[in-house]
Symmetry: C2
Subunit: 179 residues, 2 copies
């Protein structure tokens, strides 16, 4: 389907509550384990989502509206959560993510974007010219790629425990598809 | 990690609320669309989870406790939701899933399973001999495989809308891994 701003906002609104319902107070055996060296746990992913709320989506949207293609977005730091999540509990991160998302969606709604705004373009440091519409669609799809990742990382913890049923569990054959 | 009954119950307890937070009242453009012919929408997946609550997990667990390997489990009907979800809303399905899961977890806790019960074995119609521990671990991993699927099916709807960012979104390269 084409990008639809209301559908994007509907999804973005729900992600913090969905992650909260899934992860809060879940045993750390689920939430702090990863898939091996240099991979992320659910805890790491929530920290990454927080960093996106702070530095990626709305800052870039406002940059497109203000500067168009003349300014290049700041590169996104994919490892920021290693510093920023230190000493915090998963509950604190879930609260922080929910608060930042709410603020950002408030700002997004206040922009009162019209169809003509969505075709405006900006400049991504690696991907080149991108549209505001693509940025906002990616914000939603990025939530989904990390929900996909969290479910995979958690399922990985039971890879052995499920015995022969592993043959039926597609999630256990997912390699993550990260480049 | 090894199977841990409390960790399994912790996860099983959270899935209905997580799906509720993600899916309830979300536009149908997200929840009723699939990945193409003979694939499932989020609506279909919730129906499938309901059928599992009715016919798969607890019935099989009780069968292992009562009959061991002497009785073979009933085969699981992977298409049951096509009949059973007809005429229902997604909200109704989410309610039904939450109610059945709550009942089943009540029954599971009432069994007061000890370590020696978890090694008891039953007979799967295709996989052969399986343990109660493997069945219960699979119940949890099955929730995760379908959360993985739902996030993928929903992301698929924005495959074009994200433009060049598709290169960074692993979920868009996931083929589902179903056999």
């Amino acid at each position: 389907m084409e990008h639809n701003l209301q559908n994007t906002i509907s999804l973005l609104t729900r992600t913090p509550a969905a992650l909260n319902a899934l992860l809060r107070d879940l045993p750390e055996a689920w939430t702090f384990r990863n898939e091996g060296e240099k991979t992320w746990s659910a805890f790491d992913v929530v920290g990454h989502l927080i960093h996106g709320e702070r530095t990626d989506w709305m800052p870039r949207a406002k940059m497109i509206l203000q500067f168009g293609e003349t300014h290049t977005f700041e590169p996104f730091d994919r490892c920021a959560q290693e510093r920023e999540s230190q000493g915090k509990s998963l509950g604190q991160l879930l609260d922080e993510f929910a608060r930042l998302r709410l603020e950002n969606l408030g700002e997004l709604r206040a922009l009162n974007l019209q169809k003509e705004h969505l075709t405006l373009r900006g400049r991504h440091p690696a991907l080149g010219v991108v549209s505001l519409s693509e940025l906002l669609a990616t914000w939603a799809a990025h939530d989904l790629t990390h929900l996909h990742q969290i479910s995979r990382v958690m399922a990985h913890q039971y890879r052995e425990a499920v015995g022969p049923w592993s043959a039926y569990l597609g999630v256990l054959r997912c390699a993550g598809h990260s480049s």
